[in-house]
Subunit: 191 residues, 2 copies
């Protein structure tokens, strides 16, 4: 296969624009809300043409998911015991969702995904699955249980965000931890 990789293709190279677009996305979503954060406005805020955005991301949903992946970064999942791991994971995702723009963007794509199976697939596979698999491994819990805990934690945080417009306060996050941990310890038979 010829010289394969590492040979720079001919023509004008792409300008590195991901970082600027991600920053502009979060900033715009934070200032205007998800619905008013149009691709046009995001492009303008990033100092880039709308067409350039669509050359890199096939849809607004893909852009947001990539932006969230960049904002979340790798999961930490620290802790000596299963309880500590779960606790730190909840605090971690709550803090991330609390960052300006991140929560709005997350709730926004999730909303769009409800009636868009393709976007739902992207959201599920690219954003949630990696963290879910890491959690399964760290906790030694089966897939369904981790999915259940994910529904509870992320669902609660997003519902609060969606209804009040503000991220969940620390005391409530603590209450969430205090509610999930016993269920984790009890095992898979809460009856």
């Amino acid at each position: 296969m010829a010289s394969a990789i590492s040979t720079r293709p001919p023509g004008r190279p792409r300008t590195g624009v991901h970082a600027a677009v991600f920053a502009a996305t979060l900033r715009t979503v934070h200032e205007l809300g998800y619905a008013r954060a149009t691709v046009e406005r995001i492009a303008t805020a990033a100092g880039v043409a709308k067409t350039t955005i669509y050359r890199r991301w096939p849809s607004k949903g893909d852009l947001i998911v990539d932006c969230l992946l960049d904002a979340f970064g790798p999961a930490s999942l620290e802790g000596a015991s299963r309880a500590e791991i779960m606790s730190s994971a909840i605090h971690w995702i709550a803090a991330k969702i609390g960052e300006p723009g991140v929560g709005d963007a997350f709730a926004g794509v999730f909303s769009d995904a409800v009636s868009d199976p393709a976007l739902r697939e992207i959201l599920s596979v690219r954003l949630q699955d990696p963290y879910r698999l890491a959690l399964q491994d760290a906790l030694g819990e089966p897939e369904d249980r981790v999915r259940f805990f994910t529904d509870v934690v992320v669902g609660t945080l997003l519902h609060r965000m969606g209804m009040t417009g503000a991220p969940m306060a620390d005391t409530d996050v603590a209450a969430l931890v205090g509610m999930v941990l016993p269920a984790l310890q009890r095992g898979s038979h809460p009856f």
Copy 2:
């Protein structure tokens, strides 16, 4: 104030169309999903003109909220103990969200509300507040606690619905109950 009520106003009376529109709304949302359930399509499915819909409901959000109010009906909130009341409430809302069209409509309007403060107000005041107040009364719990439980229960159910496209299975609803009840019993200090 003259003859006040009970005097029939002149002119052509309105055709009773609410029931047909509500049914058409749930059916259309169930078959096509929230995003494809346009007002135009709902009107056609109800055998009514789009303008007639907008003569009765100021926006699509109001229509959906009214439709959900009609579908939910009054809360039951039966049970001898606080635990039984909470348990029956969770099963009740889970069953309602599981009805064809209801969950999709709920998740859809919730999604729209994320970036639409006016719609969020409608959703909060007309749909959630009545049930929340009834729960506060029945459980004897303060507002913040009931809001927290609402976030957990509704958030979890909607997150599951949004990610999988299907309502939560009974065993998972039971697990949800098994997670919430101890927290309810523990009182407001889960530390």
